[in-house]
Amino acid sequence: MPAYSAATFRQSLSVSFTVGLYGTAFGAASVAAGFSVLQTSLLSLLTFTGASQFAAVGVIGSGGGAAAAIATAGLLGTRNALYGLQMAPRLSLRGWRRILAAHWTIDESTNVGIAQEPLGEQAVAAGFWLTGAGVYLFWNLFTLAGALGAKSIGSPSAWGLDAAVPAAFLGLLWPRLTTRATQRIALGAVLFALAATIALPLGTAIIASAVVAVAAGWRAPK
């Protein structure tokens, strides 16, 4: 572990804990979709990228098959490859450390790491590792708590779980809707997904919506 300042530590810890709390919503959503507590925990331990995990259980929960669930989760996870690309030269790792760094390369670890840039190379690495480890710890603890909680309450709709899941997606989406252009694209995706639900085979609407991203991103914005 590289040397780090109190500021880097505080920032990493607060991000880790706050994001870890989302794990409760994931654990509950996963159990509501029919996954066991063990399967839910394994998704958090092994997949460890929140939006993809939510998507996989969301697709299954709305009647989709395994292929659609895996493909949707995979597409949502592609941004982690670009994060890895940014972190690789900053961490310059080999062997098992590089594999562990890859597993912990997510929105939060990358962004906290890069945000430490003014404090120097060591601080970038420290921010990345502290946040990666912290989110991993809290995300998995809260996933287990959410899964056990959901298991003990019985009917998901009696407790509003079936509305909590789309609300959680909305919470992940909201901070990304910063410009008029992204708001229009989001609206386009909503309309496309609803039309696709009616027109396409059960469970394929969400993955089919990926064409909206391809169409909207094909040309450079003017």
Partner: protein, 101 residues
């Protein structure tokens, strides 16, 4: 069985994607079009998930208690409420609607 396939498949695909970022040549992913589409992907897929989980049942469009819950989530987000408040207020609203019906 489906559930185990999803657990193993999703974990494998997402892990290999992360590893790819550390091992493949940087220039492959530096293409502008790839970056633009990649940046839009979460926005599009999350929007589609919100729509499908709020307004559909199998292959039909439906208006039910979930819409009430998500509408309250929108209000909470507009008021800059923290994430747990957004999710819990949506759940509580939806549960109350189910209860009263």
């Amino acid at each position: 069985m489906t559930f185990w396939v999803v657990v193993v498949g999703t974990s494998l695909v997402c892990f290999l994607t992360k590893v790819a970022g550390y091992v493949i040549p940087a220039k492959w992913l530096r293409h502008e079009r790839v970056q633009r589409i990649n940046a839009l992907m979460p926005i599009v897929l999350l929007s589609a998930l919100v729509a499908v989980q709020t307004l559909t049942e199998k292959t039909r469009l439906v208006l039910d208690h979930r819409l009430g819950g998500v509408a309250v989530a929108v209000i909470a987000l507009l008021l800059r409420a923290p994430f747990p408040v957004v999710v819990l207020s949506a759940a509580a609203t939806s549960a109350l609607i189910v209860h009263w019906h």
